[in-house]
């Protein structure tokens, strides 16, 4: 029987199940298949902070959403077209996000009276008509998997656990995904356990075959590859891109990479990744705490390394004093803050943009630090290199504000040509710079205002630095009022001067006649971009700009803000950038905020934008 194949331009699928059901792996594999097929894509993993919340409960639900298309897309999508629900909890937790007409594929084996009661279903929603608005495919995924694995040398438990591969096989059939990648992946992953490998591959194949043979699924779908710019692509998450960017930065600067870090969600994957690349000379130090992580990175920087620390909000708080020391000692240091919901422990696995003011001002004294924010998972690579450029050129700590959404979300990344990456070669000071062969550790470069970076082992440049105020030039301890005033202003002027070396803020305004500007920063780029497209498709005129440099701002930012009648600033905090813009430029921007631990929905932002446009006209 040949089945009908329908062409779609884009699809949003959400895999949802218990934390123990392997939904992240399933989503990740489907993503890799989709990437290798050549679609544009964007992903949103969403999982609980608990490693294994009680099985079958709402807090234990873990999901993975994937949006893929035959054209370029910007977000993981607002509402899923397809929900794979591995149990009643997964259905209950996600059904509210489904638009009418969406497809639900539910694992009926888990819809027992007990499991239904656990999440407050009085009757079985698969049977009581409450899902009438959706196309429901009830599939006994677990028992079919177990049956398919009857002849295999695996326990019943292991057979049941392979149900996610059955589901993946079924979905792979439905969307005509290439399967070699997943089969190869399973081979490598379970190389040491051949029975498990064979069982998982068989479950995957059985899922595919089920789709092909059963009458329940009459149609399969095709989403053609996207016409992305020519190049070689791979799918990449923000955390992986940060790690690669740091390794690249080490190669480009010619400095050994030293990471001092303490495990923290959602930043730990950067530590994991970098610790795998020792053959690049990368040293990773898992410290006793956040303070020691950044301290060791600064110590390594004093020794001439590219010192990096990675963390999230609660760790940033602890690192503040050492970042202050780096400001005072004027040593290069890269601090990656993968922001999560706060304050305090907050929402460890959810996203937020609320560390901006802390990054800018969360230290004692006048303590200026350049702050950057990547705008997409792939941009994390470029931002890491940009952080290294600024840190080494200006001898300053640099804070990078990634976030949980960028860190775990993924998108296709056009692999750069290594020879086209910027040359960031660093030359440590080698010669005395003062009269009579004296070395002046705080004699500034007239252009960048950077002080020399003289590393131990260099004869004749022995010097002492530290947290006490330093005398201009000599670096001796100084309590002089005039010197302190000069040094405070010099450190600020140095950071302000970085603006001269960064590109002006670009504004996307195709018609050139928009009266409303939407300005964002960091991880909201995709949602804002998708909202802007919606508005434009509906005939609205709107300009879009997005900040990657938060301190210092691009030099033309004030001029850009004043060019528009209204400026909308959407943020996943309570208006931190808006506060800065109002204070700095006296422009009364319109702040739109949500702090739900999730990215903005394009539909919601589009409505807000439209309202602002309507008011302006």
């Amino acid at each position: 029987m040949t089945k009908e194949v329908q062409r779609l331009d884009r699809v949003i699928i959400r895999f949802a199940g218990d934390s123990g059901d392997g939904m992240q792996l399933t989503g990740d594999r489907f993503t890799q298949e989709t990437a290798s097929f050549g679609n544009d894509l964007s992903t949103l993993p969403n999982f609980p902070a608990e490693i294994r919340a009680p099985a079958g409960t709402l807090p234990g639900v873990s999901s993975f959403q994937l949006h893929f298309a035959d054209h370029d897309i910007m977000t993981p999508g607002d509402a899923p077209d397809v929900l794979v629900a591995m149990n009643p909890a997964a259905l209950r937790a996600n059904v509210g996000d489904l638009p009418p007409g969406a497809t639900v594929i539910a694992n009926t084996d888990e819809f027992t009276r007990r499991n239904l009661a656990k999440v407050g279903y009085a009757s079985n929603p698969l049977e009581d008509g409450s899902l009438a608005a959706y196309k429901v495919s009830a599939v006994p995924l677990t028992s079919m998997t177990v049956r398919a694995l009857a002849g295999f040398d695996v326990s019943k438990k292991d057979a049941e656990r392979a149900k996610n591969m059955f589901a993946l096989g079924l979905l792979s059939w439905m969307y005509n995904r290439p399967t070699e990648g997943t089969l190869g992946f399973l081979k490598a992953k379970f190389a040491g356990r051949p029975e498990i490998m064979a069982a998982n591959r068989a479950a995957f194949q059985a899922g595919w075959n089920f789709g092909e043979t059963t009458e329940d699924f009459a149609v399969s779908y095709e989403v053609r590859p996207a016409a992305l710019p020519p190049g070689t692509y791979r799918n990449i998450t923000g955390n992986l891109a940060v790690a690669y960017g740091l390794i690249a930065a080490a190669e480009l600067t010619g400095l050994p990479l030293f990471l001092g870090s303490y495990p923290i969600t959602p930043a730990s994957d950067i530590l994991h990744e970098l610790s795998r690349h020792k053959r690049f000379g990368v040293r990773t130090f898992q410290a006793e705490d956040e303070i020691a992580g950044v301290g060791a990175a600064l110590g390594a920087a004093f020794g001439g390394a590219l010192g990096v620390t990675t963390t999230s909000g609660p760790g940033m708080v602890l690192k503040a004093e050492t970042i202050g020391l780096a400001v005072m000692t004027e040593l290069p240091l890269i601090v990656i803050d993968v922001q999560r919901g706060g304050p305090s422990t907050g929402l460890p696995t959810k996203t937020e943009q609320a560390d901006l003011l802390m990054a800018l001002y969360g230290r004692n004294g006048e303590s200026p630090v350049p702050v950057l924010a990547p705008r997409s998972p792939a941009d994390c690579f470029d931002i890491a290199i940009e952080a290294a450029r600024i840190a080494t050129t200006y001898r300053t700590p640099v804070i990078v504000l990634s976030d949980g959404y960028l860190a775990n979300g993924s998108e296709p990344w056009r692999i750069p040509d290594v020879s086209a990456l910027p040359d960031l070669a660093v030359r440590h000071a080698a010669e005395p710079n003062g009269p009579d062969g004296a070395f002046l550790p705080y004699l500034r470069d007239p252009e960048t205002l950077a002080r020399p970076w003289a590393v131990p082992g260099t004869a004749g440049l022995e010097h002492r630095i530290g947290g006490i105020e330093k005398s201009d030039g000599t670096g001796d301890i100084s309590y002089s009022p005039a010197n302190h005033d000069l040094m405070v202003r010099s450190r600020q002027a140095k950071v302000d001067g970085i603006a001269r070396g960064i590109p002006p803020l670009e504004v996307d305004d195709p018609g050139g006649d928009a009266e409303v500007l939407v300005l964002g920063w960091g991880g909201t780029y995709g949602s804002i971009g998708a909202a802007v497209r919606r508005v434009r498709r509906a005939g609205g005129r709107v300009a879009q700009a997005h900040l990657r440099h938060l301190a210092p701002f691009p030099e033309n930012l004030g001029e850009v803000l004043r060019r528009y009648d209204r400026v909308l600033v959407p943020e996943i905090n309570l208006g931190q950038l808006a506060l800065l813009l109002r204070g700095r430029f006296l422009v009364d921007v319109i702040s739109y905020t949500k702090v739900r631990g999730l990215p903005f929905k394009a539909e919601e932002l589009a409505a807000v934008l439209q309202e602002v446009i309507d008011r302006a006209e």
Partner: protein, 353 residues
């Protein structure tokens, strides 16, 4: 102690540090900064001893780095014409760890105090010792907060009346040597600011030890805690109280008393005539288990009755920086030096156009 392998004599703890072609002088070890401790402060004596000892290391001045935290003693780096960092309160061991781990060619010294190293920075000290980072930690113990003008410290004796404890402290003090041994430091020693010869000998032994070396230095603060160690300096009592540790030598406290094994494995000081000379233990700094050294460290209870000074423990185990760098070398040897283009293009890729 220079070792015997003739071709490259020098301290074992400095085996990865280049040798100086020409030695620098103690005078060259001094920076041009005016020393600003109070008159009579024990820090002067320690600085003087350290300055004259430094050339003995036999390494170039530029390969020596002194890292300190915050406190009176932490001004130390400013007075030495080497590389140095006066960092933040308690964090010197963490900063030194990053430096020493990435630069095995440096001789790294951490200068700290009882407040800096045992209070705010206790965590870092403990972990640097546990990891066996190749650093030498000199903890100046004056049993008081000096720089903040006289509050009790984590080594102040219980009941001490200070500005922040007008009715006497209710805190129990740390014994820094016990603490370092508890963290399984490979090298643990104690010395006294006023005994320059002993102090220099201990510095020498610390430099010779590969991996983390911890040295507690009893240091007098004449301003806020004068005569804290007076019984150990008083010529009349000194020799009865001080137990000078010499590897292989009997543990004697004065002419009549010696250290013997107690019933439960603890050590006790006994009258030698009573217990017999043969029961007096000989000091063994190389015992792999830290239990014996720990028992030794408890002899100062109560109130400095018997205070062992010298090297409690000197046991070599692999240093952190060497282990870390060995992994880098191993990875590069196994798979070749990393290639950036290959790394970026790894994983599942697809080509457009």
């Amino acid at each position: 102690m220079p070792n015997e392998n003739g071709s490259r004599p020098g301290f074992r703890g400095l085996r990865l540090v280049p040798r100086a072609e020409t030695a620098f002088t103690a005078k060259q070890a001094k920076s041009d900064q005016e020393v600003r401790w109070c008159p009579g402060c024990g820090d002067y004596a320690i600085l003087a001893a350290f300055q004259s000892f430094l050339p003995e290391l036999g390494v170039p001045r530029e390969n020596i780095v002194i890292i300190s935290g915050i406190g009176c003693s932490s001004r130390f780096p400013y007075y030495l014409d080497t590389y140095g960092m006066h960092s933040i309160h308690g964090r010197a061991p963490a900063i030194a760890t990053g430096l020493a781990a990435s630069r095995p060619d440096l001789s790294v010294w951490v200068i700290t105090g009882d407040g800096d190293g045992l209070s705010i920075g206790g965590n870092h000290l403990m972990h640097a010792l546990r990891r066996n980072v190749n650093i030498n930690v000199l903890l100046f113990n004056n049993r008081i907060y000096g720089l903040t003008k006289g509050q009790y410290s984590p080594t102040s004796e219980r009941g001490k009346v200070t500005k922040s404890s007008p009715m006497g402290t209710v805190d129990a003090p740390f014994n820094p040597v016990s603490l370092a041994l508890g963290a399984e430091a490979g090298f643990v020693a104690r010395t006294i600011d006023s005994d320059r010869r002993h102090l220099t000998g201990v510095l020498r032994a610390a430099a010779d030890h590969p991996g983390a070396a911890f040295v507690e230095i009893y240091q007098n603060c004449p301003i806020f805690n004068d005569d804290a160690f007076a019984p150990l300096k008083d010529p009349g009592q000194r020799d009865l109280r001080l137990l000078r540790l010499e590897h292989g030598e009997p543990l004697r406290a004065g002419p009549d008393r010696g250290v013997v094994l107690g019933e439960y494995g603890e050590l006790v000081v006994a009258d030698v005539a009573e217990v017999g000379e043969e029961r007096v233990l000989r000091h063994d700094a190389h015992r792999p288990d830290p239990g014996y050294a720990f028992a030794l460290s408890r002899l100062d209870q109560p109130a400095f009755e018997h205070v062992p000074i010298g090297v409690f423990r000197d046991v070599e185990r692999p240093a952190y920086d060497e282990l870390m760098n060995a992994q880098l070398a191993e990875a590069a040897a196994a798979e070749g030096r990393g290639d950036l283009a290959a790394l970026l293009a790894g994983g599942d890729t697809w080509t457009v156009g």
